[in-house]
């Protein structure tokens, strides 16, 4: 039976009660305890810094050449916190409530409330580190709106909030490295988990430069390895983002929670052709001011600016007047797909909608004219002043759009389409962020815990830093307090021997197949199956077909791939082979999970289960649970953690 270990007591007291009674480790003992951290994005870097500061001996690993390059760096829009600096009615409860509702009632009340509680401290910590958040003229912090909320609680640093927060955490981490509390292993990839007597006790890592395998011991292992959106091949994730660390842990006994819960982000730059290697997000913050529309006429041939107002369909404003263009991501993505499927899409592929800034440019221009007391000004001046304001707010995003598409978004409306962006699913963890393997933790995007079936914008950065700075420093101590008598296990222990042998044999297998197909082409094929049949809309028949196709693909992979080069060298092709082999297995599990969940909720949309208006039809009586999958020989076994709502009353989400 899965026990989430949610503390007893009222919702708002759970976390403080937990902290008041949790076991502590004294400083002399912390020095003897080693902690392994895999991944150095927001969750991993903040955890490594915070635990190093506490005096633990930390070893941190990342596959990039520097911890500062982890994919958290690419987050654009912002980070939520319940500061209520705007005096607009925000509170810890409202952030908690919005997140539960945004997640379509598929996340835990206890975890989400804790997230909302620590959100304020994250902003304070980041400011103290020197994170240059946007500020008002009075010198105080600025906020903006994000989807799924009606308050302004998002803190930001232009369109590169992720980079600024990660650089803050990275600098804190580098300081701990300089102080000798953290040892950093860059260009290293975890390829196996080592267990002794059932507990996580270390990892096998590969030095990606020399190709050598290394054994590392830890009293506890923290996985902070990010999301698995690259299972779709095309996503907004970085090229190297992968599932391997959590997949190895899963195959060693860690349950996988809600694997099919995927976030498709509504505003990405559309695919241009077969050569496409990745997709680029245009920040959700653009929906603050941009208006999304398609032509009302089928087969519209005119240029967007030649189409008159009354022949445009601002479909989000039409369908959801209360939230308009700021509906949550899952709702906005499905609405775009609905229009494009009916043939109203724009651009050569017809798989795109307009994100138009003309109205915002005019509005800002008029405000400027009024501010400057300019009286009667011509339209051209208004446009010029409006463009300046838009540039100040979104300039870097507009520049990026122009570099990629060659079109000037100040003049021509941007074309956007949904793309895979984030995975709400991940390793199942309890309230303490521990997986079902004792001593193995999962933090940030690689766990399943806080976002239910749909994540709200600007909440990923919040969760990564909450887990790393303010949750794990308390919860890992509760486990390690009982481990202080455990001496370091030598890496000559048979458990390390066996784990390393398994990794070595697998690598040798990749090299020996010597078939005809490239790893990249296999990845593309997997991605196409996943996108077509386990993407924005899913149905039972398609999912069953997908499972069969993936099994077939797996056979082909293990009999016909070609990997060039040698083992003991810098060999990215070989590293990619390992990652894609794991993605293929994960893809099958995602389809199985999507198949068993016979309801629609959040980003999981089963075509068989929709309301008359095409909205997600949740079936709380049967599916109000976390699907936690255990890997067993020959397949998977499903376990269920029932979700209990003591405070919030689940209802159909309405953004109308």
């Amino acid at each position: 039976m899965l026990d989430a270990k949610i503390p007893a007591g009222s919702l708002e007291k759970k976390w403080s009660d937990y902290k008041n009674h949790v076991k502590l480790v004294n400083p002399a003992n912390k020095r003897k305890l080693e902690i392994i951290i895999v991944g150095t994005g927001l969750a991993g870097a903040s955890a490594a810094a915070a635990l190093g500061e506490l005096g633990y001996k930390v070893k941190a690993f990342c596959f990039q050449d520097s911890p500062r390059r982890a994919h958290s760096i690419a987050a654009q829009g912002g980070i939520n916190a319940a500061k209520n600096y705007q005096n607009d009615g925000d509170s810890v409860f409202r952030l908690f409530y919005d997140t539960i509702k945004g997640g379509d009632y598929r996340s835990r009340e206890g975890n989400v409330h804790r997230l909302a509680e620590v959100s304020s401290a994250i902003i304070d910590q980041c400011v103290a580190q020197g994170v240059p958040f946007a500020r008002e003229y009075g010198g105080l912090l600025s906020n903006r709106s994000f989807g799924g909320t009606q308050v302004q609680r998002t803190f930001y640093a232009a369109g590169q909030t992720g980079q600024q927060l990660l650089v803050g955490a990275y600098q804190a981490l580098e300081r701990q490295i300089a102080l000798g509390n953290v040892k950093m292993y860059t260009r290293h990839e975890m390829l196996e988990l080592v267990q002794v007597d059932g507990k996580a006790r270390g990892i096998i890592a590969k030095d990606l430069v020399t190709g050598e395998l290394e054994r590392h011991f830890g009293h506890a292992v923290l996985l902070c390895s990010g999301g698995y959106g690259n299972v779709f091949y095309l996503s907004t994730n970085a090229m190297g983002s992968n599932t391997t660390a959590i997949w190895k842990a899963h195959k060693k006994g860690a349950f996988f929670g809600n694997p099919c819960f995927t976030q498709i982000h509504p505003t990405c730059i559309p695919v241009t052709g077969e050569h496409q290697s990745k997709l680029t997000l245009m920040s959700e913050s653009l929906r603050n001011d941009g208006r999304i529309w398609v032509p009302k006429n089928l087969n519209e041939e005119r240029k967007p600016f030649d189409i008159p107002e009354d022949e445009r369909d601002y479909y989000l404003e039409r369908r959801y007047p209360a939230f308009g263009n700021l509906v949550p991501r899952d709702v906005a993505s499905r609405a775009a797909k609905e229009r494009c499927d009916l043939g109203y899409g724009v651009g050569t592929s017809k798989q795109a909608v307009y994100l138009d800034y003309a109205a915002a440019i005019k509005r800002y221009g008029e405000i400027e004219a009024s501010k400057r007391n300019l009286g009667n000004v011509d339209a051209e001046t208004i446009t010029k002043m409006g463009k300046e304001v838009v540039k100040e707010k979104y300039g870097n995003l507009f520049d990026m759009y122009e570099k990629i598409t060659g079109e000037n978004p100040y003049v021509v409306p941007m074309r956007i389409y949904p793309a895979v962006h984030y995975t709400m699913g991940g390793l199942w963890v309890d309230y303490e962020l521990m997986t079902t393997i004792p001593g193995l933790y999962a933090l940030g995007e690689c766990n399943f815990s806080d976002h239910g079936a749909n994540r709200l914008g600007a909440s990923a950065l919040m969760q990564g830093l909450a887990d790393g700075y303010f949750v794990i420093p308390y919860t890992v101590g509760n486990y390690l307090a009982d481990e202080i008598r455990v001496a370091n296990i030598p890496t000559s222990h048979p458990a390390f021997e066996e784990a390393e042998k398994a990794v070595r044999e697998r690598i040798e297998k990749f090299m020996s197949i010597n078939g005809k197909q490239t790893v990249e082409s296999m990845h593309k094929r997997l991605g196409k199956i996943m996108w077509d049949k386990c993407g924005m809309a899913r149905n039972a028949q398609g999912l069953r077909e997908a499972i069969e196709e993936i099994r077939q693909l797996k056979k082909e992979f293990w009999s016909d791939i070609k990997v060039t080069g040698v083992i003991n060298d810098f060999n990215p092709e070989l590293d990619k082979a390992g990652r894609i082999a794991d993605f293929i297995e994960l893809g099958e599990l995602m389809c199985m999970d999507a198949l068993q969940r016979e309801e629609s909720c959040g980003g999981h949309f089963r075509e068989e289960f929709q309301t008359g208006e095409g909205e997600a039809d949740r079936r709380d009586d049967q599916f109000m649970y976390v699907a936690a999958w255990e890997h067993v020989s020959g397949g998977w076994q499903l376990h269920k953690e029932d979700l209990v709502y003591d405070v919030v009353k689940p209802s159909q989400r309405s953004y109308k």
Binding site: E53, S66, I177, G273, S277, T564, D569
Partner: protein, 254 residues
């Protein structure tokens, strides 16, 4: 936007590792669309090489949206290629025309030893940050974020410097392979904020010392770094660093 196809000649630097001698290898690529990114063009070539059983070209890349700072190619003699304020991954093939020859090299600097082909070891940048590129504040020590108002001009200038992505183009462009622009961006980012003041002098002294130790050259203020920086980090940051360095050297606490 209208697009077109190209046939190109690529001359790419190949080098097995730091100890072996490198050389240019010439490749012909065909059917390259102007809509592709530069790295997608390399992907296509690499796919072909794998099929032919040859070693694909090794290069660093990750986010492919111009922010992680991984990609680092010297293209036709210019770090990150011909476009202003653009990383290699954001460079698109419409920058080139049918029949062009493109020369691709790694960053060349003593501070960045070559690992393989176009991949270099930029860990020196991490060690420069370790020398003092941070504010010493442990987790949980912070006061309320709005307890410390910061003048917007300073906050904006700090942010502009903090936009550095540590790609190393500044070093690659500099005839002395100086890391001054990279380092000064950090000095400005932290030094323009009130939080950064207590360690301001100590920071600049130890970071500059580390830069010298890593084998980077001195700054002679040619401005090549600023011209190629994908994030448009201003050379005035170097002036600010020099000022801080001078002040730190003269002050009693160092």
């Amino acid at each position: 936007m209208d697009h077109y196809e190209m046939k190109l000649t690529l001359k790419v630097w190949r080098q097995a590792n730091n100890k072996s001698k490198g050389r240019f290898e010439t490749f012909q690529v065909d059917g390259i669309s102007s809509e592709m990114s530069f790295l997608e063009m390399i992907d296509i070539l690499n796919e072909r090489l794998v099929v032919e059983g040859q070693d694909p070209i090794a290069f660093d890349h990750d986010c492919r949206e111009g922010i992680c700072g991984s990609c680092a190619m010297h293209i036709n003699g210019r770090p990150h290629g011909p476009w202003h304020a653009t990383t290699t991954c954001q460079l698109h093939m419409r920058a080139f025309k049918d029949g062009d020859t493109i020369v691709v090299e790694p960053w060349r600097a003593n501070g960045f030893p070559i690992i393989k082909d176009l991949v270099t070891d930029r860990s020196a940048f991490d060690r420069i940050i370790q020398a003092g590129g941070f504010i010493s504040v442990n987790t949980g020590n912070a006061v309320d974020g709005n307890a410390l108002p910061i003048n917007k001009d300073n906050a904006d200038a700090s942010f502009a410097a903090a936009a550095c992505i540590s790609c190393g183009a500044c070093v690659a462009a500099c005839k002395n392979a100086s890391a001054s622009l990279f380092l000064s961006a950090k000095i400005s980012h932290l030094g323009l904020l009130p939080q950064g003041q207590p360690e301001r002098h100590k920071r600049v002294i130890s970071m500059v010392a580390q830069m010298d130790k890593e084998g980077f050259g001195s700054c002679t203020f040619t401005g090549a770094c600023e011209a190629v920086c994908p994030k448009e980090i201003a050379i005035t940051n170097i002036s600010r660093m020099h000022k801080d360095y001078l002040a730190a050297g003269l002050s009693a606490d160092n």
